[in-house]
């Protein structure tokens, strides 16, 4: 059978299986049908719910403006698909082209798309994570549980980790009038995503809204009462904090364990794929029948030096799913690269934060418009003399311009004058990202003494 005929056959009566029934899986399925795939389509999801949207969970849902049970994503078209919801995929046989399911069933495919995404990183101490009052926020069930607890007016909420999700949770709590402490081991909120210069603005926002923000602090332990209810947190500065709710917002872990031993190049950092969304196997050879999209994918991006980027962005999930679906049923000459320029948004403390490009690549940042002090500005990041990213606080309208600057590798610092340029923004300053070569997790441990019986271990909690 020639390649053309094989492709025709695939499009007409092939079997496509999508593992991961969330945003990326759904949009990929729609794209397959839109582009004329007429064969059988199966979507497998470990959650019992049909695909739903997650961004509202840390905002509208916690504020009570929307119900966690009603965030299902609108469909672009009918799918004529078989849904296997509430059953996780547990294994993959690449040679036999079969996916194993938790209920013992097996599903055969001609093309496989993996969109299994990420899950919330749990509190590292399992017994403490089990305490009543300790939450994570990733799924709609998580959001429903947390919302119920917030509605019961806890005395204090402790948010552990001031990334975007943690900061949005803190914002929602303050809007509900709840006392909130945020513990962040870095020097400022959002520092990993946006750097220390912008992070300071995020810190000012939190404090201006009454958040008890503690930076350079780690939570070293969660303590419960005799009934197993959270009552206290222990902090790395030796203090304790009485609290009855703790929300663990320490980022996400990629859902790749089910691929262990399969031969797919999958691990804790995601699944490596080429720019056409085809997965690599562990030998570094690209597969031709297994594709990846969304949060679980790591793919090389031409604009960013062909670095492998993992992007936990809503827009990336949609765009990469569309590209993967197109490529799954196209000949090699018709395939497209995933060239989406990274972009995300956050809404916290009444401010709309948006970004394009990859800020964390930035060496320097310049306030191109507006002012940090006003909490309303556009910051532009430079990397090796070119514009690599931009972030806006309540200045969305300028971002599209900077996206073009990124796409065209415009020089940094910008050579043009712009509207509302202030004297303070005339010079680039170091963007102040944490040094990636330094460990950010865990304590420093030093050993003294020579013989095994003399050796003493000194434990120093990490500081930012």
């Amino acid at each position: 059978m020639s390649g053309d005929h094989a492709l025709e056959w695939l499009r007409r009566e092939g079997r496509i299986v999508i593992v991961g029934a969330s945003l990326a899986g759904l949009r990929a399925a729609e794209t397959l049908r839109k582009e004329g795939f007429a064969g059988s389509l199966t979507l497998i999801g470990d959650e019992p719910h049909e695909p739903y949207d997650r961004p509202p969970l840390s905002k509208q849902v916690l504020l009570g403006h929307a119900s966690a049970d009603h965030t299902e994503l609108p469909r672009r078209r009918g799918l004529d698909a078989q849904w296997r919801l509430g059953v996780a995929a547990t294994g993959l046989d690449m040679a036999a082209r079969r996916v194993r399911l938790a209920d013992g069933d097996e599903v055969e495919y001609d093309r496989l798309l993996i969109t299994t995404g990420v899950r919330a990183r749990p509190w590292p101490h399992p017994a403490e994570a089990e305490l009543d009052g300790v939450f994570v926020l990733r799924t709609r069930d998580d959001a429903a549980r947390l919302h119920r607890r917030l509605a019961a007016s806890p005395r204090r909420v402790l948010v552990i980790g001031a990334g975007f999700t943690g900061s949005e949770i803190a914002s929602a709590c303050r809007e509900r009038g709840l006392p909130v402490t945020v513990a962040e081991r870095g020097a400022a909120p959002l520092v990993g995503a946006l750097g220390g210069v912008i992070g300071q603005v995020a810190a000012e926002l939190q404090r201006a809204h009454g958040v008890d923000l503690r930076c350079g602090i780690m939570v070293t332990g969660l303590e419960g009462d005799s009934a197993g209810r959270l009552r206290r947190a222990h902090l790395s500065d030796g203090t304790t904090l009485d609290t009855d709710v703790a929300v663990v917002s320490l980022g996400a872990t990629r859902n790749t364990e089910w691929l262990a031993g399969s031969g797919v190049g999958a691990g804790p950092r995601g699944i490596a794929c080429d720019a056409g969304c085809r997965a690599f196997d562990i030998r570094g050879i690209v597969t031709d029948d297994i594709f990846v999209a969304g949060d679980v994918a790591r793919s090389p991006h031409a604009i960013f030096g062909y670095q492998f980027l993992s992007l936990e962005h809503w827009g990336n999930a949609v765009a990469q799913a569309e590209t993967a679906a197109h490529n799954m049923i196209s000949s090699s000459s018709e395939r497209r690269p995933h060239l989406w320029v990274p972009a995300f948004w956050s809404s916290q403390f009444g401010v709309n934060i948006k970004s394009v490009g990859v800020p964390s690549l930035g060496e320097e940042v310049i306030v191109a418009q507006g002012s940090l002090a006003d909490h309303r500005f556009t910051g532009v990041y430079g990397y090796q003399g070119r514009v690599i990213a931009a972030v806006s606080f309540d200045q969305t309208k300028w971002l599209e311009f900077y996206q073009r600057q990124i796409e065209t590798a415009a020089p940094f610092p910008p050579e043009y004058s712009s509207v509302d340029r202030r004297p303070e923004g005339l010079r680039p300053v170091p963007a102040d990202f944490p040094d990636p070569s330094l460990p950010t997790h865990g304590p420093s441990v030093t050993v003294s003494g020579y013989s095994p019986t003399d050796q003493r271990i000194t434990f120093t909690p990490a500081r930012a």
Binding site: T31, T71, R76, A343, G350, N352, D394, Q395, T396
Partner: protein
């Protein structure tokens, strides 16, 4: 009915908040918060809001209607 707003695309024009204030609301100067599950009674207001959006960032699935002809995905690819 189900709806989603591509907030990468949204520029805070707030047309939706004027046309369907029970579903869309501005939060601060530029942030949009919306109810992803709008009440059926809001159908015409939501339709007007989605149509009026200057950047066409609102995707709605209306029950008992064929899915809207959204051919270019709401992916933030402009």
């Amino acid at each position: 009915m189900r709806l989603v707003v591509d907030l990468n695309r949204c520029q805070g024009y707030a047309q939706c908040a004027f046309l369907a204030p029970d579903v869309f609301a501005m939060h601060g100067e530029e942030s949009l918060l919306y109810n992803p599950h709008a009440d059926e009674a809001q159908r015409e207001q939501v339709r007007r809001a989605a149509t009026a959006c200057p950047v066409q960032a609102i995707l709605v699935e209306y029950p008992q209607e064929a899915p809207a002809a959204v051919e270019e995905g709401l992916s933030g690819v402009r």
